[in-house]
């Protein structure tokens, strides 16, 4: 088989696995949230039904071309991000397209979807969308700072920006994980991760009552369906990235699922325990403790 075709097929397989895993984990997480609130909660497969329902809608309206293709940007951003991350360590095929670029490509490609989505939301002409985008972008700038410091710290530690190499360097035992070898960077990254997942207390972007879920407020039917697909893939891609950076990557899908699930749980636990921050609060918070930790991480890894 042509290696390229093979590669593409494996990429599709990756996407398929991640999509399903993402949807299920979404359902489970919501279930957990319900259980914390002493409810029974939705069935774990509810996200599937919601997506099918949304595709089954018969009417849809369009606000314009950017609105129309915004979900495409969003999903392309999610899938692309996934494809640029080496998923399974030691498996050539599940490296997907990570040969295209290193960690920096991944960090920057996140914004591809964000930007497209923001544009689509803006074109709907809904003020709440624009407010949401404003909040979202503001918050992004805040948490990217500790994130970058953490990543830079890791880059110093391993002297590379190649994700596969970072994973390789963490092999050989739990204590080799960056989480243990570089705790400061890990803390900075995990704090940044909270907002990156967009969960409480950093979910003011989507505040459902105040600005009816913000940017996607006008999206519906098939458009919303595409966005929901992305909501399944994109967090998992991020989780895989954090897993690769901090927790030694995964050598098989089982390991991947376990590790990412626990990383996800971190944000879930924080989310169910803390109320929502206002944007300025979250921005200030990120420019406080996490920033200091990030700076400390960089300084420590540079000089020690």
């Amino acid at each position: 088989m042509d290696p390229l075709i093979k590669q593409i097929l494996f990429a599709l397989l990756t996407i398929f696995i991640v999509l399903n895993y993402g949807l299920i984990v979404q359902g489970i997480v919501r279930k957990i949230g319900a259980r914390v609130g002493r409810r029974y909660g939705i069935p774990f497969y509810q996200p599937y039904i919601d997506i099918i329902k949304n595709y089954s809608k018969r009417t849809r309206i369009s606000h314009g071309i950017m609105y129309y293709i915004a979900p495409v940007f969003r999903l392309t951003g999610g899938i692309g991000l996934l494809l640029f991350i080496p998923v399974i360590f030691g498996n050539n095929m599940f490296q997907n397209f990570s040969f295209s670029g290193d960690l920096l490509l991944i960090l920057y490609f996140q914004f591809f979807g964000v930007l497209g989505m923001a544009l689509g939301a803006a074109e709907s002409g809904h003020p709440n969308s624009a407010i949401g985008v404003s909040r979202g972008l503001s918050q992004v700038t805040a948490y990217e700072l500790p994130l970058t410091l953490g990543v830079l710290s890791l880059a110093v530690q391993y002297n590379t920006l190649n994700v596969s190499e970072i994973v390789a360097a963490q092999q050989g035992g739990i204590l080799n994980w960056s989480f243990f070898t570089n705790p400061l960077a890990s803390i900075a990254l995990l704090l940044a991760f909270l907002a990156a997942m967009g969960r409480s207390p950093f979910d003011v972007v989507l505040a459902p009552q105040e600005i009816p879920i913000g940017p996607p407020t006008e999206f519906h039917s098939g458009f919303l369906g595409v966005l929901q697909l992305n909501r399944a893939i994109f967090p998992i891609a991020k989780l895989i990235l954090f897993m690769n950076l901090l927790f030694g990557g995964a050598t098989n899908w089982g390991e991947l699922i376990i590790k990412t699930f626990f990383i996800y749980m971190w944000s879930v636990f924080v989310g169910v325990a803390f109320p929502r921050f206002r944007v300025d609060q979250s921005v200030r918070w990120y420019l406080g403790v996490p920033l200091i930790i990030g700076v400390a991480a960089v300084v420590v890894s540079k000089f020690f």
């Binding site: 009417t59 849809r60 369009s62 606000h63 314009g64 071309i65 950017m66 129309y68 293709i69 495409v72 999903l75 899938i79 494809l83 640029f84 295209s100 670029g101 290193d102 920096l104 920057y108 490609f109 914004f111 930007l115 544009l119 803006a122 074109e123 002409g125 809904h126 003020p127 624009a130 407010i131 404003s134 909040r135 972008l137 503001s138 992004v140 700038t141 805040a142 990217e144 700072l145 970058t148 410091l149 830079l152 710290s153 880059a155 110093v156 590379t160 920006l161 190649n162 009816p212 006008e218 098939g222 458009f223 595409v226 944007v279 300025d280 609060q281 921005v283 990030g294 700076v295 540079k302």
Partner: protein, 1042 residues
């Protein structure tokens, strides 16, 4: 050749014979006078010409049959020829200019004019002290007469002050002469000097009186209130005579008598001169009356000349060159400006907008202002250059500082004035008409200013290397201003293309890159100029002048050429910026920062040239002395152009208010001049240290903070072009940081980012310019929903912001990727993190830009707007093509730059494998990223189109609006204060501290200026007290006691 004695004889003869003429025949009197002056001008011109071309010997004129010292003799040397020529010319043309005024005052006023010129001629030529005194008296009495040409309280009291003051001064002069005679037994200058007189206290006091009287004639600070009052109240033509002729003669007298003065007195005179220069210019800043302002300027220029003459023993043989070039500039420009002031007749410079009704006068006004402030190609430029070079060579750094700060003050008020004339919105409904006899002198003097510049530069060993061709082409466009824009634009593009085509082979790679940004970029932005209708007067000469300066920078081989080009570019861009709306303030701050920066560069070059045989750029690379200083001065100088933090406040306004195609020119292209300078500097000087800290390290933080602050301020702007302007500040911060990394990757980033920044900033500014063109507003919140009206502009902006934000897969990412490779390699993580942070902030304003303008709710007013003009779109799409090419094939951009950098930074280069770039740390393949992204995008898009094939197209208010319906687009479009929460969180960072700082500096300088001017209280006696006190103080300093 005509004996110079005829100058005296003819002037006297004619003035005596005017008595024969009856009262009604003033015309004849006037014409006779002018003929006489014309004759004398020719005589001295002829002498000067022969001195220059034939190198003849100095000619001595003996009166009576006896040789000096027994009789009075005159001398005609090269200097005398030049000075008398200037004096006679100003007499002739000043007389012509004032012809109707003099005529109205009667034939006797012609006598005063002739006598003044005659007196000054003899003052210049004579070699006898007492004769000097007599003819100086003639001149000052003649001036006192001319002052009352217009008789009003002001002029009469000013004349009285003048007479009383000159009375005391000439009394002291006579006292000095008397006692010199007492000790020397002779009055002949040469004779006295050749005697070896024993140093008696009385003699030295006599010499002191002689010198101090001459210095007082030059109106030193603070004993000069009488002079200022004359300048501000006399007829403009008379002021021009006083400033140009009288002052010129006193300068010469000082040169002539300087050998009398002991060394410490010479330095004292120099000190007085430089203090006068600085303080008069400082006080000039608060002036509102043009004549008085010019008076301050005159006094300051003469003070500078006194300073130069005073330290001639230090400067050496170049004193003459410096004095002449500064003096000629002052002479031509000051007379021209006084004359124009006489035509305009406005008491306040704010009302000078009336000058706009007469284009010719406006142009002349600009020429004179530039000549006066010592900008190229006028002679003052070369004078200032040589002065600084020689002061540096002799390590008189405080003097350099004083010269530059004084010049800077002068620039402040001169350009404020120019700004008012070109742009102030006070409309005065009068059409300025200048009579032909007023225009001719102005035209001739303006032409002479250019000619003098050429002459002076040809006298200079390095200035003669300057390539004047681009400047000549630019000036040539001034003569075809009557042609329509289409032809001029085509010609301009053709000229630039031809220049590039014929020259690019002689450039090295670095030069090619920057020449390409400057020239090709220039051509691209010029294409947008086709969108303009009419003649677009005043655009092409300056645009081309700017490009001439830019290409001159690239081609410069000596520091002089570099500085020349730098100033040229500043002038051109200043006018381009001044063309914009409400630009008056911004253009002023632009020129102030530019000139301030240019002075720093000048000082840096001066220091660099210490002990070097020549001034080629190469000297920068082997500097033993003061290297950190030189580096610092030059770096700060260049950073004024790259608008680094602290020096950036000129940029937002200047770029934002400019026209649609000027904004990209100044923002995308012009800023790269600073980058080029920095590159040159770094290449030549490498890393420099203050103590243990590397300059590069400091600059890296400057760059980082610039990037952060620029981007953050951009996020909070309401004005689209201001937003882009702040974004330029941020982007140039990146470049500065890249350069300061001093590594292969850092430089690769900086240079490639310069290219990329050119592309996206030109794209964005053109696109936004097109929008502003149609919408006639720059406030983003007043726009909205324009995507449907201006889809092509939208695509430009979309691509532009994606590149700007550095989002893959477009070429902007290359810059970001390289940056972090470089940062990690260099291990400057904190800077890297802040840069990343500021890169994210770029998203804020990028989104805001596209959202507020193109998305959201369209406004009712804009329902019928059309797409931006075709010719503004053309360059955008040309740039888009290139962006796409570079995005697909990043190595087509990066590899040549990398190769170019190999000689300088051989380590840490990128290895290329097809489009795959690999560094020690990471890798990136632009092509596959592009394919993957496009592939995934296409599939998802197909899926979505299939799902949503029957989507219903709705209108702007069909939104779920909390069960209500929107009522007005204005209230529904969320765009004003878009990042309010963000501002709430970290808005304190963008408090306008730096702007406030500069405002305080400005206010402080003005209030100091105000305080100082208070000493001129208008009372004649106070002025006399100043004079006496001045004499006493100088005496005490010079003798250290009584």
């Amino acid at each position: 050749m005509v004996d110079p004695i005829y100058i005296v004889a003819v002037l006297l003869g004619i003035s005596f014979s005017l008595g024969f003429i009856g009262k009604k025949s003033e015309n004849i009197a006037g014409i006779l006078s002018l003929l006489a002056l014309g004759f004398t001008t020719l005589v001295s011109a002829q002498w000067f010409y022969n001195f220059v071309t034939a190198d003849i010997e100095t000619y001595h004129i003996f009166t009576t049959a006896f040789k000096p010292p027994f009789s009075i003799n005159l001398m005609m040397g090269k200097e005398e020829a030049l000075f008398t020529m200037m004096i006679n010319a100003i007499g002739l043309f000043g007389g012509l200019y004032m012809f109707d005024r003099l005529k109205a005052a009667g034939k006797n006023s012609f006598i005063a004019l002739l006598m003044l010129i005659m007196g000054l001629n003899v003052v210049v030529m004579t070699r006898d002290l007492f004769n000097l005194f007599v003819f100086l008296e003639i001149s000052s009495i003649a001036v006192a007469g001319l002052i009352v040409l217009t008789q009003n309280t002001k002029s009469i009291s000013a004349g009285f002050k003048f007479m009383i003051a000159t009375g005391i001064i000439s009394g002291l002069l006579l006292l000095g002469i008397a006692f010199i005679y007492n000790y020397a037994g002779s009055l002949n200058i040469d004779h006295i000097l050749t005697q070896n007189l024993e140093a008696a206290k009385g003699l030295s006091i006599a010499i002191f009186f002689l010198m101090i009287a001459i210095v007082l004639e030059m109106k030193p600070f603070p004993a000069n209130g009488w002079g200022l009052d004359v300048y501000s109240s006399a007829e403009s033509g008379v002021s021009s005579l006083l400033s140009s002729a009288y002052a010129t003669a006193t300068v010469f007298v000082l040169m002539k008598l300087l050998p009398f003065a002991p060394e410490n007195l010479q330095f004292l005179i120099a000190a007085i001169g430089i203090i006068t220069f600085v303080f008069s210019n400082l006080m000039g800043m608060r002036q509102d009356n043009p004549n008085r302002m010019l008076g301050y300027s005159s006094i300051s220029q003469i003070g500078l000349l006194a300073a130069v003459i005073g330290i001639s023993s230090v400067i050496g043989e170049y004193t003459y060159f410096i004095v002449i070039s500064i003096l000629i500039s002052h002479f031509l420009a000051k007379s021209g400006l006084f004359w124009i002031a006489g035509i305009v007749k406005q008491e306040s410079i704010k009302n000078w907008s009336v000058l706009r009704s007469n284009k010719l006068l406006l142009v002349l006004f600009g020429v004179f202002i530039f000549a006066l402030t010592g900008l190229p190609p006028f002679p003052g430029f070369f004078g200032k250059w040589e002065l600084v070079m020689h002061l540096a060579e002799t390590k008189n750094f405080i003097w350099i500082f004083a010269v530059l700060i004084g010049s800077f003050f002068e620039v402040v008020y001169m350009f404020r004035w120019l700004g008012y004339a070109v742009k102030n919105d006070i409309i005065i409904e009068t059409k300025l008409k200048a009579k032909i006899h007023q225009i001719i002198p102005l035209l001739l003097f303006a032409a002479a200013a250019f000619g003098a510049g050429y002459y002076v530069s040809s006298e200079h060993p390095y200035a003669s290397l300057i390539n004047y061709l681009p400047l000549a082409v630019a000036l040539g466009f001034a003569f075809i201003e009557f042609l329509p824009v289409f032809i001029k634009n085509t010609l301009a593009i053709a000229a630039m293309a031809a220049y590039f085509y014929f020259n690019y082979e002689s450039y090295n790679e670095l030069q090619v890159i920057f020449a390409a940004i400057f020239i090709i970029g220039g051509i691209l932005t010029l294409i947008a100029g086709y969108a303009y209708k009419g003649k677009r007067q005043g655009f092409y000469p300056f645009a081309l002048m700017m490009f001439a300066g830019l290409i001159g920078l690239v081609e410069a081989t000596t520091t002089l050429e570099f500085f020349f080009a730098w100033e040229l570019m500043t002038i051109g861009s200043y006018f381009l910026i001044l063309r914009g709306k409400k630009s008056i303030k911004h253009a002023l701050s632009y020129i102030l920062f530019s000139i301030g920066g240019a002075y720093l560069i000048l000082a840096g070059f001066g220091l660099a040239a210490i002990g070097k045989p020549d001034i080629s750029i190469g000297i920068l690379s082997n500097i033993e002395l003061y290297a950190p200083w030189i580096f610092g001065l030059l770096a700060i100088g260049f950073m004024t152009k790259t608008a680094s933090i602290g020096l950036h406040i000129w940029l937002p306004g200047a770029h934002a208010e400019a026209e649609a195609d000027v904004s990209p020119m100044v923002s995308a292209i012009l800023l790269k001049a600073g980058v080029f300078g920095l590159i040159m500097l770094f290449l030549a000087m490498g890393e420099q240290f203050i103590g243990n800290i590397s300059f590069a390290y400091i600059l890296s933080w400057v760059g980082v903070i610039t990037a952060l602050m620029g981007n953050m301020m951009a996020a909070f702007q309401e004005d689209a072009k201001r937003l882009l302007a702040y974004s330029s500040i941020g982007a140039l911060g990146y470049v500065l940081f890249g350069l300061s990394l001093m590594s292969h990757l850092g430089w690769l980033t900086a240079i490639s980012f310069s290219v990329t920044h050119f592309m996206f900033k030109a794209l964005l500014f053109l696109a936004i310019g097109g929008v502003v063109w149609r919408l006639k507003t720059k406030d983003m919140y007043k726009m909205g929903g324009l995507i449907k009206k201006m889809p092509f502009s939208f695509i430009s902006v979309l691509i532009g912001i994606i590149v700007l934000a550095g989002v893959p897969p477009l070429t902007g990412f290359a810059g970001k990727w390289l940056f972090f490779q470089a940062v990690v390699e260099k291990q400057w993580f904190l800077q890297g993190a802040v840069l990343f942070f500021s890169g994210i902030i770029a998203f804020l304003y990028c989104f805001r830009l596209i959202h507020s303008i193109f998305l959201g709710q369209p406004k009712d007013e804009h329902r019928n707007v059309k797409e931006a003009p075709f010719w503004i779109l053309v360059p955008q799409y040309a740039i888009l093509m290139v962006i796409m090419l570079f995005s697909m094939l990043p190595n087509s951009l990066l590899k040549p730059i990398g190769d170019m950098l190999m000689p300088y930074f051989p380590d840490g280069a990128i290895t290329w494998d097809g489009q795959m770039a690999t560094t020690a740390l990471g890798y990136w393949n632009g092509k596959t990223v592009m394919f993957i992204v496009v592939g995934v995008f296409a599939i998802v898009f197909g899926w979505l189109v299939f799902m949503n094939r029957n989507a219903k197209k709705v209108k702007q208010f069909n939104i779920g609006y909390a069960a209500e319906r929107p009522f007005l687009p204005e209230t529904t479009h969320y765009a004003f204060n878009f990042f309010a929460p963000y501002k709430k969180a970290i808005g304190f960072l963008v408090a306008p501290g730096i702007t406030n700082f500069w405002h305080r500096v400005d206010e402080g300088a003005h209030s100091v200026s105000d305080k100082f001017t208070k000493i001129y209280n208008g009372n004649a006696q106070s002025y006399l007290i100043h004079i006496v006190a001045f004499i006493l103080v100088i005496y005490l300093i010079s003798f250290g006691g009584f």
